[in-house]
Symmetry: D3
Subunit: 133 residues, 6 copies
């Protein structure tokens, strides 16, 4: 029951550069969850065709994580946020790097996907603090 | 406090056609929320350049709603679901039409965006029932 | 009669969501023909680089088939069509699934591409009946 | 003879750069038909929102015409074709220009869409001659 | 003569996330130059169709500027660079904002395009210093 | 010092179909440089995952080369240019083919990337002659 209440239905929000004013770190997290699942499936399936497909799709999904994070960093966060959370720039830089060649694009290590998810959660925590402020 | 618990952080999930097994109607809803906000901003701002930009972006966001719903309909839902929920096909067809020319692409009526959101919520309800089954 | 046979060439038509009113199942079929050819070439060429490229491209082409079919289902077909052809929803759902992970994306079986082509032809038959009605 | 008339429907074909060996000028023609219909609808509807949407979509469709023609020119046609049909280069250059700023992108003149269609038909005629050779 | 030597021919370089190791701020600058030209043409042409097209294209080009800058910030620059140039994070954040709603997307002021170009040049200066280090 | 002056900073220029009037062969060359670097990295790294990623990315980058060249051929060059440089059509056709299945898409031979780069330089030479004329 509580699980059902925890569903994203009521707070989802996004991001276009009108701007519509709607943003949500969930977009990046959804893709990162997908990446983690892809890596797990890759590790437990040694069919070469399946694995090639997993690599193709993981590449795309990692790019989407980067894109959604970049949008938050440039479009949602404003100078006062960066003043209040001086670690934000580095946090975003590290998170997007974790979805790149040195991160989930280049590896098949599920720990790397977990690092990426943790970093997105750090960003999400700050995001919701500023949103609810 | 409860509000913070309701955040999407823990259940977000998605959708690639590996398949990764991760899906979430939140992706469609996020874009639909964005469309609603765009329409509201359009209605309260008569600058022609702003309005032209709103139309351009609303077109893209509506297309994204359609895409995310199509993915759920084809990739997530399976024959047993369609048997259990015989209204599903029509529901998806109506929802995607509501993001098209006869819906949020073609109009600037906020009620149309609300209809789309309600339809997505109907789909989400069924989605979570099948997910938790 | 002959006029109908001559049809495709002169009336080729499509699909944008203005809507322009121009639609044609040929768009999906063209991509499905391409998929079949890719699978055949993959089967008769064991160079690993060629095969990797075939997998990358087959993934894209399968996605295009899904896209073109989704557009027909949502944008071209209207409630009266679904009443007259109650099998349409399932037909489209099966056809798009045949271009997905359980279909031409996930396999290298030319029979799967043939199934997809046959399903598209069933849709095309209904499409032209409604178009000429 | 009749066989040739029946051609498009059964052999529709395309174009990926594996190459799959499947090409068809119908892809460009479908988009050009769409452009013509968009212009006609624009001319008979003076609602500014509809017209803005028509311009957005016409821009995309014109780009697709260019893309499909470029693919034929680079990927399908080979040196012997260009020797046999020395006008081919200019034909493609003119056709793609007709879908650009000086053509269907920049104007709302239905005659321009007709010129584009005629040019695509010239290309298609040569295409089918080489295909059947 | 010197002008010809100054051409980009020999040093252009780029950026994919293999990574290929090839990056170049010229990619962002090219799009920003395009934006400036679009704004100038918009200001000197009051045809509403031309202006609508200018807005559509300016939106795309501004997005490309953001994309190329994000790639440099995440993929090219490494921790030692951020230590040596502590202003880099803010510089990139401001530059990408200048290509967004509060910058070249939202305005038709040529001064805004000049600000964006100047910011890209600041980034380029640092880029080449690190590249030649 | 001279090396720094030779940087592309001052002359980069581009290309949209407004048209903005800004074009630059550097865009194609940047992607071709990237392709060459990808091939070199592929040849010196036999990790199968790295190699699969290299193939995926090389496919995209080759497509971008084709796109940038097509834009120059259709949008920048005008009839008087084709009269003055009768080899231009063939040059572009060969260059785009060199980025296709018979060129950098289909091979991992660094000599093919060099041929592509040389062909782009021939085009660039003519481009700048017409630009400075």
């Amino acid at each position: 029951m509580l699980a059902r209440l925890l569903r994203p239905k009521t707070t989802v929000s996004a991001h276009c550069d009108l701007p519509c004013g709607v943003y949500d770190p969930a977009q990046a997290r959804i893709e990162a969850e997908s990446i983690k699942a892809i890596i797990e499936k890759y590790q437990s399936n040694d069919d070469p065709v399946f694995r090639a497909r997993a690599l193709i799709i993981k590449e795309e999904r990692s790019q989407l994580v980067k894109h959604h994070l970049w949008v938050l960093w440039t479009d949602y966060f404003k100078p006062p946020h960066f003043e209040k959370y001086p670690q934000l720039h580095q946090l975003f830089n590290e998170a997007t790097k974790l979805a790149g060649a040195g991160g989930t694009k280049g590896t098949l290590d599920v720990a790397k996907a977990d690092e990426l998810l943790a970093k997105i959660d750090e960003i999400a925590k700050i995001f919701w603090e500023t949103k609810n402020a």
